[in-house]
């Protein structure tokens, strides 16, 4: 009796199929999961998830981390789609805050460009409307 394996990330499905064995890098060490494994929940370290299908074929998936959920005939890997880590998160958070300051200071070029484009489109529309009215009046 094989196990059904789903590897999903927030951005989409990665793998779905039947397998005899699943190997995953658990937080407390490498895990080998055979059918009828007890329900288990653990975090994954960055590493390789190996899926052995019934015909002896092997498939490898690299995960940067995630959560592994095991039920007797179902293994779900909730893979992260981004490299995580407190430091990286901190950095990204700082970047977001910096960006907020830029927005408040009105220094951001991108926004001014967008603004200008919007104004241009508006001005053009107004010009057209004026032309149209002029044409009708005559």
């Amino acid at each position: 009796m094989p196990i059904h394996v789903d590897i999903v990330s927030a951005e989409g499905d990665i793998f779905s199929g039947e397998a005899e064995w699943v190997f995953a890098p658990g937080r407390l060490g490498e895990l080998g999961i055979a059918p009828r494994h007890a329900p288990l929940l653990t975090e994954l370290k960055p590493g390789e998830v190996r899926v052995e299908t019934s015909d002896g074929e092997e498939q490898f998936f690299y995960v940067t981390g995630g959560v592994l959920e095991v039920q007797p005939h179902l293994v779900t890997v909730l893979a992260d789609s981004a490299v995580r880590g407190d430091e990286l998160d901190e950095e990204a958070a700082l970047a977001a805050r910096e960006k907020a300051r830029e927005v408040l200071a009105g220094r951001s070029d991108e926004i001014d460009l967008d603004q200008a484009q919007a104004e241009l489109v508006e001005a053009e529309a107004r010009y057209r409307a004026a032309q149209k009215l002029k044409g009708k009046r005559r």
Partner: protein
């Protein structure tokens, strides 16, 4: 009466505009299809992680994670998803209006708000108002990645954890169908506890290392997946709204061209009539 040549150039220019709007409409339509697929693709992950959270909160009733704890609301946070580009009808404006109403109500109650803005349009809008913007990110593109959103989300979840904000809202457009998109304000934090009945089978996991330690990572991932989903949905809304707006623009351009063509014909006929009148007048004088 405008001369024939003037009207002819005008017609040519409107035709060019029409070509552009028609192209934009078709591009939006094809992008919409792809974004809808992406929306579908993010569903299994979100559903799975929700079940896992249900199990986790069941597993250790004594341990209260800050994300699951309800507090008195003194200050709130908003993550607001808007589009980067315009030409998508009233999509953004409708949403901003509903947020402003919310903010005003909160202000009357003496509750202040911190904003986290995703998307250039929201930044341009809320910058002009006197709001407290604490984080921002833009140009996540039509294929958003979770990695681009992590920073903005982390700022808000950190604020929640530290107790700066007591509630975190998430605002994005809900995709009802191609013709209709609804702004939606949902509570992200504290996380709504999963209904017990939702857990189909009653059994528990082995936790490695422990449920309390796992819950942190799972909840963070849950929040991220929710925000990611919202951002993808908002892109779908943008494309749908753009498609409809551009369709209307193309139709309007068509009507405009018809009107101009009529004007042109009239001008041409008037010119001919006048010329004949002059010739006849000249001949009569001879």
């Amino acid at each position: 009466m405008a001369s024939g040549k003037e009207i002819r150039t005008k017609i040519a220019s409107v035709k060019n505009t029409q070509k552009i709007t028609r192209a934009m409409q078709m591009v939006a339509a094809s992008k919409l299809r792809r974004t809808q697929q992406r929306m579908e693709a993010s569903r299994p992950y979100a559903e799975r992680i929700r079940t896992v959270i249900g199990h986790l909160s069941e597993a250790n009733p004594d341990y209260r994670h800050p994300y699951l704890d309800r507090r008195d609301v003194k200050r709130v946070g908003y993550i607001i998803v808007s589009t980067d580009r315009g030409l998508c009808g009233s999509l953004n404006v409708n949403m901003f209006r509903s947020i402003l109403m919310d903010l005003k109500r909160l202000q009357d109650e003496g509750v202040e708000a911190d904003l986290c803005l995703v998307g250039a349009k929201g930044q341009a809008y809320f910058r002009r108002l006197r709001t407290n913007i604490v984080a921002a990110t833009s140009h996540v593109g039509e294929v958003p990645r979770v990695a681009d959103l992590v920073g903005a989300i982390a700022t808000m979840t950190d604020a929640y954890r530290e107790g700066t904000i007591d509630r975190l809202f998430f605002v994005h457009n809900r995709f009802v169908n191609t013709m209709s998109q609804q702004p939606e304000i949902a509570t992200l934090l504290p996380v709504e506890p999963v209904d017990k009945a939702e857990l189909q089978e009653y059994w528990d996991y082995i936790y490695e290392p422990s449920a309390a330690e796992l819950v942190d990572g799972v909840l963070d991932r849950y929040i991220e997946s929710q925000v990611y989903r919202g951002v993808v949905e908002n892109v779908a809304c943008e494309m749908a709204a753009k498609m409809v707006a551009m369709k209307a623009a193309t139709e309007n351009a068509g009507k405009f061209i018809d009107q101009l063509q009529l004007d042109y014909n009239k001008a041409r006929q008037a010119a001919i009539t006048q010329e004949i009148a002059e010739i006849v007048g000249g001949a009569a004088a001879v």
